[in-house]
């Protein structure tokens, strides 16, 4: 019953929080309308959503989010230094990261995190060979970068979604 009424609890919660933020959670009426929207919108948009894997470890997910936020600050500092430094000494490279995960939704999250963090932008996710194509701004040692991404981001994500 609960499952049928709220097919996507995470999506509903996100919609409700977004509505509360947009209206500044000003009044009870706004919150009620937000709750109604959070219940109705997942039904209306049901056909467009991919089958997301279940969030198996919410606590690990929160810790991981905090670490990603910190990494974003560090990565920005690194990019900023390289941008103002001598441009000719950069060694940009295309890097291929072989993935162990096998879920398109989780791969999308991983590629978004990779785009925002360590001096890399994801270019393509190859879903036949499960390889993440990246472009790195400054990667003198591509293998080390691959190891960092697998250990620091892919392993926790696989743990969080248990896939």
């Amino acid at each position: 019953m609960m499952r049928r009424l709220i097919p996507r609890p995470a999506l509903s919660l996100a919609l409700f929080l977004l509505w509360a933020a947009l209206t500044n959670a000003a009044s009870l009426g706004a919150l009620l309308l937000g709750g109604l929207l959070a219940l109705v919108m997942p039904f209306v948009t049901r056909r467009f959503w991919p089958d997301a894997p279940r969030l198996a470890r919410p606590v690990v997910a929160l810790k991981f989010a905090a670490r990603v936020a910190w990494d974003m600050l560090v990565a920005n500092w690194a990019v900023a230094r390289r941008v103002v430094g001598p441009v000719a000494s950069l060694s940009p490279a295309f890097v291929e990261v072989p993935l162990d995960l096998r879920d398109p939704f989780v791969a999308t999250i991983l590629s978004s995190i990779v785009s925002l963090t360590p001096g890399t932008v994801s270019v393509d996710v190859d879903r036949d060979r499960w390889v993440l194509h990246l472009h790195a701004l400054d990667a003198p040692d591509p293998d080390a970068l691959v190891r960092v991404i697998k250990l620091r981001y892919e392993t926790p994500i696989r743990e969080i979604f248990s896939c």
Partner: protein, 109 residues
């Protein structure tokens, strides 16, 4: 508004503006498209995110109640930045080597 909050807002604005400027410096200065992509996706996003956060702190301090709607803009920016970067990179690959990126496209299906 007390001095501590004013200081926080001012430093967030300065930090954000500096990062946004660095992102644009990267856009103007780096040698090829794929390296240019790095500046705007990371530095500009974080910079504008910091300024939006400054606005949230400021309005929370000056008006009654919380000012949360700036957080929505920030979340939106952080979600969309990697997506546009990804699409731009794909488009650039497609243009620089059509045969090669066709392959990637087909494999991606």
């Amino acid at each position: 508004m007390n001095l501590v909050i004013e200081f926080v807002v001012a430093s967030l604005i300065l930090l954000g503006a500096a990062f946004a400027l660095l992102g644009s410096v990267g856009l103007a200065r780096l040698p090829d498209f794929f390296t240019r992509l790095h500046g705007p996706t990371k530095a500009t996003t974080l910079g504008v995110g910091a300024m939006v956060l400054a606005s949230a702190v400021y309005f929370t301090a000056t008006q009654q109640g919380f000012s949360l709607h700036e957080i929505a803009v920030m979340v939106f920016l952080f979600i969309t930045a990697p997506v546009s970067a990804h699409l731009l990179a794909k488009a650039a690959l497609h243009r620089s080597a059509p045969e090669c990126s066709e392959e990637i496209d087909d494999a991606g299906k």
